[in-house]
């Protein structure tokens, strides 16, 4: 369970998050929607521990642990996964090697046995098939020369293999065609269950047609200004974000 209380954060002394209160219980998928500049990406970076974001107040607990006190890799080992809006390219780093290194680091941290290369490849190939991705995805360098859609699918592949208990999807739908969008949604839905929860950050409603959220929250000017069921997303799609800041 993720519990965010009164979270405030700044970038270069500029306040971006102005008191976020949000709880995502196990097994639930919540969506965060909001206009550009509302603080959606900042929230995902603060949760995953990126440098340059100063938390000035509030708390975040994740399965009872103080999330803000631990390093990014410890957050991953604890079960948090961020699907980046703009995944970075890693020239010279093979995708298979990268994912296996990550998987084994996480397994080590959790006290699980590491996977050897053969066992890993078997799992990875199965995941690739499930996600309708080309086989050479594992052989290429991480995200190097990937199209926008391939990069997003590579994020979902990593998620499928790392099996997080909480996924943050930061505008994973941006730049995707409808086929890719379905693949991404299938990847998330495949993980759905009592031990998996997700925070889907998006600007548009269309991803939520495929990943139906339990709750929808509207983030505007650094605060959650409204929360509701899936119908709230449709309402926003119809009426836009105008006027929400005042709400």
């Amino acid at each position: 369970m993720l519990e965010i209380k009164g979270l405030t954060a700044t970038i270069d002394d500029k306040e971006i998050l102005r008191g976020i209160d949000l709880t995502v219980p196990d097994g639930e998928i919540h969506a965060i929607m909001g206009p550009n500049g509302a603080g959606k990406s900042t929230l995902s970076y603060v949760l995953s521990g990126r440098e340059g974001y100063e938390v000035t107040g509030g708390s975040v607990t994740f399965n009872g642990r103080d999330l803000l006190a631990i390093e990014p890799e410890e957050r991953a080992a604890a079960g948090l996964f961020l699907a980046f809006q703009y995944p970075v390219e890693l020239p010279g780093v093979g995708n298979a090697n990268f994912i296996r290194t990550a998987l084994n680091a996480v397994r080590r941290a959790r006290g699980e046995k590491e996977l050897d290369a053969v066992a890993f490849l078997k799992e990875a190939r199965a995941a690739i098939k499930l996600l309708h991705m080309p086989d050479d995805m594992l052989k290429r360098n991480v995200n190097v020369g990937f199209s926008g859609g391939e990069k997003k699918r590579n994020e979902i592949l990593q998620m499928a293999l790392l099996k997080p208990s909480l996924a943050l999807l930061d505008e994973t739908d941006s730049g995707l065609d409808i086929d890719a969008l379905k693949i991404v949604a299938d990847g998330v839905n495949a993980l759905r269950g009592p031990d998996f929860s997700a925070l889907v950050i998006t600007h548009y409603q269309r991803l939520l047609d495929h990943i139906v959220p339990d709750r929808v929250h509207v983030l505007a000017a650094g605060r959650i200004v409204r929360s509701g069921g899936p119908e709230l997303a449709l309402e926003l799609e119809a009426r836009g974000y105008a006027g929400l800041e005042a709400a």
Partner: protein, 403 residues
């Protein structure tokens, strides 16, 4: 110590081999002394400053060096303190030694090459006959119990037309000494030499290696040097493309930390048309280490259709590290394609964060990115044994706590 003083104390005439040649080389070296920064070729590496406190002499007898020789099944030639160690070497036909060979190239005027010619006693002489594939050979040069000694092996590698050889050269040692090898390489038409070099000297040592590679037409010289040992090191390679369609690949990487100073210098002379040269040089610098890269591509008027490429990149891992880079082009032919590039920076924090967000601890994430950074330079290394040696050396570097 003054360069002349040091030579005065050595009875050059007592060394084996041609006396007059030693005397001439000694005179050439005396005329210049240790290179200083006033010498443009040594703009960033002050050898004089490092060596003047050395009380140089010829090395004494070595003890047991078995632990310094890597374990492989490959045939090997071992030199200890500049002398051929027959008992440690594999019996090989065609292997001679320097002193008995009067035909070594003179007229190389670099001071450190002259010093080598004055002092060299032994060296590998490999003559591979026409069309013979000689497989892989290990060439190990070790300094042992050689306190402030000058060790100067001189190797000569000749490949006949169409011949092939993979040579893995390792320099290692213990203590404080000057290791000053010279390797002269002549490749016949269509010959292929893969030359993999690991400079893994003791941390107090000074290593100055000079390699001359002359290529006939259609010959190919693929080399990779990993520079990670020695307090001060310089690897200077002169590749001369003397015949058409020759091809040279001069890659290098250096991993330095503490107060190490490492210098990779290359001079590629395109003296014939339709040749290609490729260079990728990477420096990873931690602590207060200082890396130097100087690379010059020279294209003679006759060398039309030259394709010359050079890339050098440096990663600075700490606030006190320094890189100096001087990539040069000297072009006298018009129908050429020559380029060089240089980049200097730190590890990209975005990349480090991406890896950490996937659960990879920071030190491991940095190591992964650095290893990936080096990858392109290691590309010519196709031999499995060489590859393993380099991977081991890179792994050992992480253990120095550089991350």
């Amino acid at each position: 110590m003054n360069a002349g003083d040091f030579l005065d104390r050595i009875d050059l005439a007592a060394l084996p081999g041609a006396v007059s040649r030693r005397a001439r080389a000694a005179a050439r070296f005396r005329a210049t002394g240790w290179p200083t920064r006033a010498d443009e070729a040594w703009h960033y590496t002050d050898l004089n400053a490092r060596l003047k406190s050395f009380d140089l002499a010829l090395p004494a007898e070595a003890g047991s060096v078995a632990g310094l020789i890597p374990e492989t099944d490959l045939p090997r030639i071992v030199f200890v303190n500049g002398r051929f160690a027959e008992d440690l070497s594999t019996k090989m036909p065609g292997l001679g030694c320097y002193a008995s060979d009067a035909a070594l190239t003179e007229g190389r005027d670099q001071p450190m090459v002259a010093l080598n010619a004055a002092l060299a006693q032994d060296g590998a002489v490999l003559d591979i006959a026409e069309s013979v594939d000689a497989g892989t050979v290990l060439l190990v040069s070790i300094a042992h119990a050689a306190h402030q000694a000058a060790i100067a092996p001189r190797h000569r590698i000749r490949l006949g037309a169409g011949a092939a050889l993979t040579l893995i050269e390792i320099a290692r040692g213990e203590g404080e000494y000057l290791h000053n090898p010279v390797v002269e390489i002549a490749l016949g038409e269509g010959a292929v030499l893969r030359h993999y070099r690991l400079q893994d000297e003791a941390m107090a040592a000074v290593h100055v290696a000079t390699i001359f590679a002359d290529l006939a037409s259609g010959a190919r010289y693929d080399s990779f040097t990993l520079n990670c040992g020695a307090r001060l090191s310089r690897n200077e390679t002169h590749a001369t493309l003397a015949g058409a369609k020759a091809d040279v690949h001069l890659n290098a990487a250096q991993l330095l930390t503490g107060s190490q100073h490492g210098d990779i210098t290359t001079i590629v002379a395109h003296d014939a048309p339709n040749c290609a040269s490729r260079q990728t040089v990477k420096s990873v610098l931690s602590g207060a280490a200082r890396g130097v890269f100087q690379g010059r591509i020279e294209v003679a008027r006759i060398a039309q259709k030259t394709d010359g490429y050079q890339m050098n990149q440096a990663l600075l891992l700490s606030p006190d590290a320094e890189i100096d880079s001087k990539p040069e082009l000297e072009i006298f032919a018009d129908d050429v394609k020559c380029s060089h590039g240089a980049t200097i920076g730190a590890l990209d924090p975005e990349q480090v964060f991406y890896l950490r967000s996937r659960g990879i601890p920071e030190a491991e994430a940095r190591a992964m990115l650095i290893r990936a950074f080096l990858d392109e330079a290691l590309e010519p290394v196709t031999d499995a044994t060489a590859h393993r040696l380099f991977e081991d050396a890179i792994d050992a570097w992480w253990r120095k706590g550089v991350l």
